[in-house]
């Protein structure tokens, strides 16, 4: 039974007085994987940030309904508690806070349950193994000195540990080598289940081969201009976005 997890109607947003999202509609059901593509500057990261509740972006019209609840006015941490997750296009470096400590804290906050140090470490190690990450990353400071690809992998690690209901992956595949794309894609695929939904923002078709998405959306100038299946992505690969501009 598919159930609607996300329902966005006529979403408009502005940042520093510039309108970026100009009436965006999107529906997602549990169990689905969606792909979002679009030219540089179309508003994909903006959309991800607006969904997550970035305070610089102001919603000027429309509604975001997540799990039957209007979340327009929820702060980012509350949205995370509702089950949203964003894998950032450019993850921040946080010196002094280790990956393990941070994730354990986040997990405790999200679940409201204590996470024993050793039990949590065990889970973390399993997930790291799955993503072929060296255990030593657990005790490193969050993203500090990580390579571009390592940062992206670390985002996916956070996703599989925190187990959100809706994961938005903003160009997680950019900057990953061929092997890493396979590992990360398999991780995402394994994470996907009937109870969650995943929105993948990407410029490349490579990841589609692994993910077998249900829908592909084309975002141009702040609006979704076309929705289709995997064939649509193939067309874009050949012809570019010209016909949608």
């Amino acid at each position: 039974m598919n159930k609607k997890i996300l329902d966005i109607k006529n979403l408009r947003s502005k940042v520093d007085e510039t309108e970026i999202l100009k009436g965006l509609d999107l529906e997602m059901n549990k169990g689905e994987i969606h792909i979002m593509m679009g030219p540089n500057g179309a508003g994909k990261s903006t959309f991800a940030n607006v969904l997550m509740g970035h305070p610089k972006h102001e919603i000027i019209d429309g509604e975001i309904i997540f799990n039957d609840k209007i979340i327009n006015d929820l702060s980012v941490d509350k949205r995370a508690k509702e089950g949203m997750f964003l894998s950032f296009q450019y993850p921040e470096e946080i010196p002094g806070v280790t990956v393990e400590n941070f994730l354990r804290n986040a997990k405790m906050t999200l679940t409201g349950e204590n996470q024993g140090v050793f039990a949590f470490r065990k889970v973390l190690k399993e997930k790291m193994k799955l993503l072929e990450m060296d255990e030593s990353y657990a005790s490193r400071y969050l993203n500090q000195g990580f390579s571009g690809g390592e940062k992206k992998k670390n985002e996916i690690l956070q996703m599989v540990v925190l187990e959100p209901k809706l994961a938005i992956l903003d160009e997680t595949d950019s900057g990953l080598d061929i092997d890493a794309i396979r590992i990360v894609s398999n991780g995402v695929k394994a994470f996907s289940n009937d109870d969650n939904a995943i929105l993948v923002i990407t410029h490349y078709n490579k990841i589609l081969d692994y993910l077998e998405p249900d829908f592909v959306h084309i975002l141009v100038d702040g609006k979704i201009v076309k929705t289709g299946g995997i064939k649509l992505a193939r067309e874009i690969e050949e012809k570019g976005f010209e016909e949608f501009k």
Binding site: P55, S75, D77, E92, I94, G96, A106, T109
Partner: protein, 380 residues
């Protein structure tokens, strides 16, 4: 005005008398920078709370109770140049010190376990004038941890003089965790010999007015000094920190690294000087201060200065203040962590490298707990 009779039973009487005369001539300072005005120095009281640690390889004496004049030490008491938060407070303590230690480590002795001094202040010991003399002879190594605490409003004026003779390595770790109504004035000076190094660690957490000064004279070739400090101010605290590295020797090196956080209506002035004297060729100095401003109502001033009496030197200085980076905050919060928890994480993370320098677990925990408690205290 303090009476000379106070000195009757004290050691180093001649020295103290000289300082008392100077003290009585001086005015109590007025500082615009942190609003020190009409300040009253309390009446003299004894201080009887210091437990002197023993160590078989060290000569440790209590400055407050030592009765005889020990000629050997008198020359170390005398520092020719001006130093400290203010002459008035320095001479007060030099004349009337009621506590403090003299620690001497003989040449070639290296003591790895730290020496710990707990200066506890309370209703029975509300005045602490500690005068400390730390002498490291050639090729020796020593760490001293000084922890200042109070559970009520007290007055502290301390003077610490460190002599790191050639090739020695001295680490002084100072923690100030006094009660929030207390006044704290702390003056430190180190004289560093050839190939010797002094490491200062300063952790300033308490007091209503807290002023500290650390002056280091890099006297000889290859003298080195390192100063790492953190401060945390909340409510109406006024913090005045002054760090000064005086480079005399050739190829001398210094480094100052300060991290702070200010909350509520706290106010802070940071003054950091790298002073390259003529002849200090090929010397290097670096200083950096970074303060996190947790509320719009705080006030923060930083005055880093580079003084070059010599061309062939490298000096770098930077001071910056900022709100917590919005993007970092958003990133942390996007994983479910609340704003106050995320800010706390960032502050604690920036303090951690300095806190980790404390060689005692119990003290480390107390410092972390102190900062943690005040960070989660939403509005005061």
């Amino acid at each position: 005005m303090y009476n000379e009779n106070l000195l009757n039973n004290l050691s180093f009487k001649e020295y103290r008398l000289d300082k008392l005369k100077k003290y009585n001539k001086l005015q109590i300072p007025k500082w615009k920078r942190i609003n020190l005005q009409d300040f009253d120095i309390p009446d003299y009281r004894e201080y009887n709370n210091l437990q002197l640690p023993g160590h078989e390889d060290l000569d440790i004496r209590d400055m407050g109770t030592v009765k005889e004049d020990i000629n050997e030490f008198t020359r170390y008491l005398r520092v020719n140049e001006e130093f400290g938060v203010d002459k008035k407070f320095v001479t007060l303590t030099e004349a009337l010190s009621n506590s403090g230690v003299i620690i001497k480590i003989e040449k070639n002795k290296r003591i790895s376990e730290p020496i710990r001094l707990d200066f506890k202040m309370d209703n029975d010991n509300p005045l602490l004038l500690d005068h400390n003399l730390i002498i490291a002879k050639r090729n020796s190594e020593l760490t001293v941890v000084m922890d200042y605490t109070s559970n009520t409003k007290v007055f502290h004026s301390g003077v610490t003089k460190v002599y790191a003779e050639d090739n020695s390595n001295v680490t002084i770790i100072k923690l100030q965790r006094m009660d929030e109504d207390s006044d704290d004035f702390d003056s430190n000076i180190a004289i560093v010999g050839r190939d010797a190094k002094v490491n200062w660690v300063s952790i300033e957490l308490g007091g209503k007015i807290t002023a500290s000064s650390f002056i280091t004279n890099l006297k000889e070739d290859n003298s080195k000094a390192d100063l790492k400090s953190i401060y945390f101010g909340d409510k109406d605290m006024e913090i005045d920190v002054q760090y000064k590295m005086n480079h005399f020797g050739r190829r001398s090196e210094s480094n100052i690294n300060t991290k702070g956080a200010l909350k509520d209506r706290a106010k802070k002035v940071f003054r950091g000087d790298l002073d390259f004297k003529k002849g200090a060729s090929r010397s290097k100095g670096e200083e950096e201060e970074y303060v996190l401003l947790l509320d719009k109502t705080v006030k923060s001033d930083a005055i880093p200065a580079l003084i070059c009496g010599e061309d062939d030197v490298e000096g770098e200085h930077a001071a910056s203040a900022g709100q917590i980076n919005e993007l970092k905050l958003f990133y942390l919060m996007s994983r479910g962590i609340s704003e106050s928890q995320a800010k706390k994480m960032i502050v604690e993370a920036s303090f951690k490298p300095v806190i980790d320098k404390i060689p005692y677990e119990d003290l480390k925990e107390k410092v972390e707990e102190n900062i943690h408690r005040r960070l989660i205290d939403e509005k005061s």
